[in-house]
């Protein structure tokens, strides 16, 4: 082959993988004002990712007012994430976790709300959100958060008005804080240990796929996984604990924002609120004595706080304005069957 042609082809290959995503934007101290500056998407309005940006799913997800979530992960060329036991993978500097929130509209379209980023910079993870401006075809940085009043979208409970809140930067931290550092919550082995369909139509376990494309070190992984909280074929205890882990466990852990409550809800916590008294709950206690009273969902604060939309009562404190009806049913059944 002609030497020049070879060089040309190599250059083309490199340029497509090097220049699709803007590594500099991810690492820069000057936070880009527009989402498009990162180059994560080839067609952002339809959430079609660029090369090197890989979709992923969680087994059970955090509830966010019934939004659809489009998750993607990007690792800089030639870098690999490593296992860190059961914890979040040890991702290389320059990693981006991308999550777009949207609704299906009653007219059959998609309403993009915001795209949240977790960027692994030299001095740690940075949490940012970009709120969509469809008319301008881009999403823009919203450090102070934004309230989006949503109507005419499809939700299982037919909510006709949703006061959707894109979190401010500190609210991102509130949930993502572990000790004094921001950390991703979702990408732990147990949360992604499932098969999804990739672009070519081939189904593959996400960890296997990540290993094949060089995102993750090759290593036999444990078969432990969360269960889909809403798949009734699974054990109810595992379903409930999986739900609480991903929805509550990040704050309700000894290292999290709710550490001072003494109520810990990660899946590995042996005590998870059974006969646990409220501490500084105020009206959040609902006049009830314990977080969980086995056999009595109606006397359990945990359920009471899922059944509220009042700011000082509801849990989680931020990130929802609607009730998660399916989860309420799940937790009710779980507590009532508990001995």
């Amino acid at each position: 082959m002609n030497q020049n042609l070879l060089t040309f082809l190599i250059l083309i290959c490199f340029s497509s993988s090097l220049y699709a995503v803007n590594d500099h934007a991810i690492l820069s101290d000057k936070t880009p004002k527009a989402l498009s500056e990162y180059g994560f998407f080839s067609d952002a309005l339809n959430q079609i990712p660029n090369e090197g940006v890989v979709p992923y799913e969680l087994i059970t997800a955090l509830f966010s007012d019934y939004t659809d979530k489009h998750r993607f992960i990007y690792l800089p060329d030639g870098t690999t994430a490593k296992y860190d036991g059961e914890d979040v993978f040890d991702f290389p500097i320059g990693t981006a976790l991308i999550k777009t929130f949207s609704y299906q509209t009653t007219e059959g379209g998609t309403l993009l709300l915001e795209t949240r980023l977790l960027l692994n910079k030299e001095d740690g993870w940075d949490a940012l959100t970009y709120v969509w401006d469809i008319d301008r075809g881009d999403a823009y940085l919203a450090l102070g958060g934004k309230t989006i009043e949503v109507t005419d979208v499809i939700t299982p409970t037919n909510a006709n008005f949703i006061r959707y809140r894109a979190p401010n930067k500190n609210q991102c931290k509130e949930c993502h804080l572990k000790d004094d550092a921001v950390e991703p919550i979702g990408p732990k082995p147990r949360n992604i240990n499932k098969a999804i369909a990739y672009e070519n139509g081939i189904e593959s376990n996400q960890m296997d796929h990540w290993a094949v494309i060089g995102f993750l070190e090759e290593k036999p992984y444990s078969n432990d996984s969360m269960v889909n909280a809403f798949n009734k074929n699974h054990d109810i205890n595992m379903r409930a604990r999986s739900y609480l882990d991903i929805n509550c466990g990040h704050c309700h852990s000894p290292q999290g924002s709710a550490s001072s409550s003494g109520l810990y809800l990660s899946i590995e916590d042996k005590e998870f609120g059974v006969y646990k008294k409220p501490v500084a709950a105020g009206r959040g206690s609902g006049g009830l004595s314990y977080s969980i009273v086995p056999g009595k969902a109606e006397e359990s604060i945990l359920l009471f706080r899922m059944l509220s939309n009042e700011p000082d009562v509801m849990m989680p404190e931020s990130g929802r304005s609607l009730m998660h009806v399916e989860a309420i049913e799940l937790i009710t059944e779980w507590i009532n069957e508990m001995k």
Partner: protein, 417 residues
Amino acid sequence: MRLVNHLKKQIVILFIAGSIFLPPKILTEVIIIPPSENSQERLQEALILANPGDIIQLTTGIYNLEDSLSLDVDEVTIQGDGHEKTILNFSDQKSGAQGLMVTSDKVILKNFAVLDTKGDAIKVKGSDGISFIKVRTEWSGGPKSSNGAYGLYPVDSKNVLIDGCIAIGASDAGIYVGQSENIVVRNSIAKFNVAGIEIENSYYADVYDNTAEDNTGGILVFDLPGLPQQGGHDVRVFNNSIVHNNTDNFAPEGNIVGEVPRGTGIIIMANSNVEIFSNRIDDHETVGIAVVSYINDDDSDDFTDSGYYPHPKSVQIHNNEISRSGHNPDLDKDIASILYEISDGDMPDIFWDGVLPLKQMILGQPNNEKLILKDNGEIGFAVMNPIRYMLSFPYQLSRDESKYSGNITPLPPVKID
């Protein structure tokens, strides 16, 4: 020529000296945020973009806010023109469990008010160095169980100063310091809260020169089980004016302060090394000072918590002026009704429930752990005999104060870094 050289030298020396004595950051910026239509976004963005050393200056006026605000940058001061002039109004709050949340170190909050939040007014978590100066938190509709739980609420923090503040209407505690260390609460006013000032699961606290009036209970020093930090100790409560805390308990049920009887001056529960002195404690319908154990009377597994000690010890109460206690006890609450029953209605100014580990109830307490009462004037004192009470034997109450005399060992003052 020589003069010029000399001057040059001087300038160089001055310059070097200047750069040595300049603080590490070059500029302290004052960021002025007046109230506006979009106070929420503007204020929150300023709080996020602030650099260490900056002052966020709020001006005179009302800031209408629908969502909670938060600060996570070290060494920032948020200040207004005074708590009567600069108002953060949360009466239309739609989201957020508090008005303002602070999670960074060396923060000063000064000269503003936080009004009518849905939940807590100002919560500070995990901060080393937090000062509240002349800040007011208030629920303007008076005492109601729908009010937020806490006014000033530092938790899991170190080096906490609350000075010249006002807390009104909290459905739990007006000033609540929880699971913290090195604490000074002074020159402040707490009224129409369930608990005026509460120090809970905390180490090294000085509470002095405050006024607690018209709360359900004036000042509480508590320790509770099942928390990351427990074993509260070294708390001094002195020179306070604690008067007519006779407001009906309006705490939502299920909270520990819901147990506080209307008309209580001070309660010390399950702490060690507590010194209560030189306070004026007047006109309490149930009791002036109560010293009690944390009693577990239900299904919880509190006492499997091996790190928790439920009894108060090494409590010294001296030189207080206590008057007019127990003239209308709140018989809906256990402490009050038991005391009323065993005292035949002759309520004391100072009450100790006498509950100790069983061994100590029979063989006696170690000397250095005993309750000491000294120079409190002509007061009524009563201690329960819990064993006789449980067995319904006679003589369930002793009024003999002489057993509790002794020398006072003053606790050292708290130092804040």
